[in-house]
Symmetry: none
Subunit: 214 residues, 4 copies
């Protein structure tokens, strides 16, 4: 009846446990949602019994919060370094930014985050605010700088920057979401990278001034 006990006893005990539990939780939250994920599921996937997660986290809710704080925010440093690169032109920088975002996050287990945050933000407003302030806004600011820079140099048309940034982000975010959903709006067998390529080609083309095309 209880699905708590497993046939295992006294496996290793280590400082790796919290990380393992968070990763198990992230996978399951992304798959089933927060509420539909049972603590026992998390424990089982982490290879422990049902009481063990509570040695490391006060509650299920704290697992959720820790997951954002400890798994996601550290990734932010990545984006920062993108702009420190040598000058390669705005279009190339945009390309690099979006592809790095995809390979570093979209192809890791963290790709689950957008789906998770979209679904649960209303239920965990403080965590959502953290995610927004520490992850989305800085990321958008970076992207904005690239676009503004491109406009200033005449590489891009003078489009409304805010809207362009969102238009650029949307496909990447949607791609991550669709990866974790049974409702893909793109061919699930297609290569996400080639989709990104095509998308980039389209919007970069849209950003270019006539002069650059002619």
């Amino acid at each position: 009846m209880h699905d708590c006990p497993f046939a295992k006893r006294w496996s290793r005990r280590k400082a790796a446990r919290p990380q393992e539990i968070l990763e198990a939780a992230l996978d399951l939250f992304a798959e089933k949602g927060y509420a539909a994920t049972k603590m026992g599921d998390i424990a089982k996937r982490a290879g422990v019994t049902c009481g063990t997660p509570y040695r490391y986290f006060k509650s299920k809710e704290e697992i959720f919060a820790s997951l954002i704080r400890e798994l996601v925010l550290p990734k932010l440093a990545l984006g920062e370094s993108l702009l420190a690169e040598p000058d390669v032109g705005a279009a190339a920088r945009l390309r690099t930014f979006l592809f790095t975002w995809w390979t570093q996050i979209g192809e890791s287990r963290l790709s689950a985050l957008p789906k998770l945050m979209v679904a649960e933000a209303k239920n965990f407003p403080e965590v959502a605010e953290l995610y927004q302030k520490e992850f989305i806004q800085p990321g958008q600011a970076l992207l904005k700088r690239v676009v503004e820079d491109g406009i200033a140099r005449g590489e891009f048309r003078a489009v409304p920057v805010e809207h362009a940034v969102q238009t650029l982000m949307s496909p990447v975010v949607m791609l991550m979401i669709w990866q974790h959903s049974l409702v893909p709006c793109f061919d699930p067998d297609a290569d996400p990278r080639s989709y990104l390529e095509a998308m980039l080609d389209l919007v970069l083309h849209g950003l270019m001034p006539r002069s650059a095309i002619a």
Copy 2:
């Protein structure tokens, strides 16, 4: 009770009940997620007590399924008619298509659907499949025809059609999702329509061949 004069009030609503319950459920599922929404909440928002939904639906799960079948799919007819319009050029048709999508669905309570389906598709695979087959695929097919048409006429560049379709859809879908989330990646005070405008300007520009620009 007995022959109280308010009895009429109840019978008047009787026919509307199932619809009211589904709408209440849609709102709440979108806000909190399926699992976190209590049957009692649905009942209360529909203006009935907790036993009443069971007169019309076998279970919570059936409410979810009915919601997709009876609230969403009927909307599909809308899109079909879009292409029956007189010939106005591919760009204008694209514009019309996306704006109609937005005003008819994005500005209605149905804008909750993408968030809901993304979050719950894995937990309700049959419903997700229905949604996918009856709503997304036909919609994409419509959009695809518009793009192909535009390419055939020389109005658009010869881009990969599938990817272009997805790139066109992403911002609209994301806009709907963000509307129902505390994690907006766009200025929540901004007018969604002006965002759509800017997005369309960008991608239409990206679709145009050099000749059209020069």
Copy 3:
């Protein structure tokens, strides 16, 4: 495994339930203590299933608090009326006070309260404060008035009033506690009333001035 389900279905549903649950809880708390009393025990004794108490009380803790507030405090009015009686002399009044206390509370299920409060006061400080302020202090004040009155009239010796009050209360309180304990310090077959008689005889004798004796 779960001791929650009982073989009963759809018994009466009434406004009597909360009271029944509180009485069941009082009996069990007094018998086993708060922590050792399971919610299922309370439900079973109240003749309902394990989920029912939660329709009326938010938590086990609230049952405890309500029990004091709703079962005990109303009894206080009793004591108030004792002093309104016609003048019968201080000794007779003392006798009446202590005997009424015993018959009204000591011989009712409320006799469990001293044991319960002594055991749990530290774990529920706010409830303990309520009990202290609303029950004990007023009761002591009443008793104090009787003693002071007796001294003023020359019926009693001029003893320290506070201490006399406590000395008078102790046997009654201990009698209630012993009734609910396996550690009786008096013969459990003895009649509590005859113990009260003897005790009263002793202390009344102790209160009398020489003149009254000689």
Copy 4:
């Protein structure tokens, strides 16, 4: 670890461990009750970690039982010697008995016992029986002898002895209980000894025959 110079410290305490654990348990049981006291709390207060008590005691229940057997019963010898004293009159002997009881037990950590036993006797009937037989009954027998002696000599009135004994004990027991409760029925700042004095004055007075007063 290895040959650290503090190793001595541990071995020095080794022999004292069981006693320290029992004392920690007594304090906590008295404060929170048996069930609400966690083994980890006991360990922590005893200055060890949560596994250590199990080296000395089979279970929490055994700690409770040992506590009574090893901490309390040895104190009983004290009372025995009280009556071996030279003849000083019944009243003085009563006074000595109660004051010694108070100073030896009431002012030690063992004052927690009445509260603890009252609260838990029903949950640990064998321990309660032990406590009753080995502690309370012998104590009452001692007190009874003093009272009977006093009556035989004409120092006390011919009161019912059993009831008098209980009346004499009640205030002392209550005083111990109130010391460990947030529900004191006496001024918590008052000196317990002066309360005992006053109480004794009252009941001794009540015990005296007319002749002794006049």
